[in-house]
């Protein structure tokens, strides 16, 4: 199940979308999600589908790969459908016992399903085409203005990138500890849910201790390399807007205008 989640994964290939500035992708994804909630009729959704389809086509990421990520949210989708379909008041169409389906219910359900699917595809397309590094750089830059409000933007971005760096290391460590405990007759696979959770304790305790130790070492290494927060820091790979980023913004604005016009007209 965990392996099926494509959200947050990077798909390595060459495309215009991959080369776009991460800031463009972040802003576009955010605006796209907002536009999904602006859209209120068939034309709006058709436009969103067109926009998304175009982006997928340009990104060179196989559609199959993107859809595989949808499996993970199938459950969420199912719950949304059940709740909206059966619990929306309106003109009754079908009634079995206390369960009734209304015309309003069907309308909202269809809307929600499309919204959710577009939302997930849209945001996973962003992570599929942007390396985690670029993503944190982009976030730091896009959220930069929040520094005025004393939001520690640089620190958050640094934490994210360190977390990303250490995920594989800690995974490996988990595996190692697990094997060591299994060699001493620990059992991680049988028993009921509570029993299994209890069995995880001998795995989690050493893992946490080691993570803290690593954090301490890393902090020392960073300090010894003159790290002193974001002020006065230069960037090895600064983000610079190119012509294609301008074009992307233009397309985004056109899309948003079209969406608003479609919503008001119909």
């Amino acid at each position: 199940m965990l392996r099926d989640i494509t959200i947050g994964q990077y798909y390595r290939t060459e495309s215009v979308i991959h080369r776009l500035d991460p800031r463009v992708k972040l802003v576009s994804t955010f605006m796209f999600i907002i536009s999904l909630f602006v859209a209120d009729n068939v034309f709006g959704y058709a436009l969103a589908a067109l926009f998304l389809g175009m982006a997928i086509k340009l990104s060179n990421v196989p559609l199959k790969f993107i859809l595989r990520g949808m499996k993970a949210i199938f459950f969420l989708l199912f719950i949304t459908v059940v709740f909206n379909l059966f619990l929306t008041p309106g003109n009754e169409l079908v009634k079995v016992g206390f369960i009734k389906i209304t015309d309003e219910g069907i309308r909202i359900t269809v809307k929600m399903v499309f919204r959710l699917i577009f939302l997930i595809i849209g945001s996973s397309l962003m992570t599929l085409t942007t390396t985690p590094n670029q993503l944190t750089d982009g976030l730091e830059s896009v959220l930069g203005p929040l520094k005025v409000l004393r939001v520690p933007v640089h620190e958050i971005a640094m934490m994210m990138s360190i977390a990303l760096r250490f995920i594989p290391i800690l995974m490996e460590e988990t595996d190692k500890i697990m094997k060591a405990q299994m060699a001493r007759d620990a059992d991680f696979e049988s028993g009921n849910l509570i029993q299994r959770a209890k069995n995880l304790v001998p795995l989690l305790v050493p893992l946490f201790i080691s993570a803290f130790r690593r954090a301490n070492d890393l902090a020392m290494a960073m300090e010894s390399r003159c790290y002193r927060g974001g002020d006065g820091r230069t960037k090895m790979k600064p983000l610079i807007y190119k012509k294609r980023d301008g074009i992307a913004y233009l397309i985004l604005v056109l899309y948003l205008v079209a969406m608003v016009v479609l919503t008001i007209l119909f």
Partner: protein, 286 residues
């Protein structure tokens, strides 16, 4: 380059409730003087205070008593803190826990970024540093895919990119396999002889110190012995008392000499021993 005067470092031991159990003197009145361009080795078994000492050279720890000077700057002087950390780079034991970047070249650029070096110069520095440790071909790799020795060389490059005058290596080879160890020591020696960077190598592998200009042996926070590797390894029995060995070749030569062969006092390398044995054979053959 680095000078300590009467350096003492104490820390307070506490039990689980935080009550003071006692005071441990990790470093006890250490005086040492490292000249620019030297290759220095500090030896000692676990808990001898050598790592604690190293952390003083980079202003990661401050003396309880006495002074530490790096290039004439007192480490307790806050105004010079960042100058000291730039001039005296530090390599730690665990290669995984000191690499910050997710790509080799980004990690090497981390130090210069922190120092506020302009972007173009960062790229130049990254390239020359990776070249200096022979890791340029890995610049786009993820650190997770490198071997221990390679990671440690990346860490060294990360320090070189800050253009330090001195590199302090705190057991850089302790977690590496023999090949990785050789590579790291080779890189350190090259930096010392080619770039003229002062190197302070802290280790408990005897084989690594034979190239040093000067060796300090630490025990219980004291400097017990100091001198050239030849002078140090001449005292095999004294070293054993300090729970330290000597390189295998040196030990072999020592034992051979004890049993009557006419060998010099100290033999440091295999080549040297072979030479001496050939000399003996030729002399006896005549």
């Amino acid at each position: 380059m680095i000078r300590t005067e009467n350096l003492v470092f104490e820390y307070i031991r506490r039990d689980e409730e935080g009550n003071v159990e006692g005071i441990t003197r990790a470093i006890d009145e250490v005086d040492l003087d490292v000249k620019p361009g030297q290759f220095i080795a500090i030896l000692g078994h676990n808990g001898s205070g050598k790592s604690t000492l190293a952390k003083h050279f980079n202003a990661l720890l401050y003396p309880t008593e006495g002074e530490v000077y790096v290039d004439g700057m007192n480490t307790e002087d806050d105004d010079h803190l960042w100058d000291i950390r730039q001039e005296a780079g530090m390599i730690f034991q665990n290669p995984d826990n000191q690499i910050i970047g997710q790509v080799v070249e980004e990690d090497v650029g981390f130090g210069p970024e922190n120092m506020g070096v302009p972007t173009e110069e960062i790229w130049e520095r990254v390239e020359e540093s990776l070249k200096a440790v022979n890791m340029l071909s890995f610049r786009k790799s993820s650190p997770n895919h490198l071997s221990g020795g390679q990671k440690q060389r990346v860490s060294i490059a990360g320090v070189i990119a800050m253009h330090p005058k001195c590199i302090i290596m705190d057991e850089p080879t302790a977690m590496l396999d023999p090949n990785g160890r050789k590579d790291v020591i080779r890189a350190a020696r090259a930096l010392n002889s080619v770039e003229g960077i002062t190197v302070i190598l802290i280790t408990h592998y005897m084989e690594e110190v034979i190239y040093a200009d000067k060796v300090f042996v630490m025990d219980k926070g004291h400097i017990e012995m100091q001198g050239t590797p030849r002078e140090i390894f001449a005292q095999v029995d004294r070293l054993k008392e300090l729970k330290l060995g000597v390189p295998q070749v040196t030990l072999l030569a020592h034992e051979l000499k004890k049993s009557g062969l006419d060998l010099p006092e100290v033999v440091l390398s295999r080549e040297e021993l072979v030479q001496e044995l050939i000399r003996l054979r030729d002399r006896n053959g005549k």
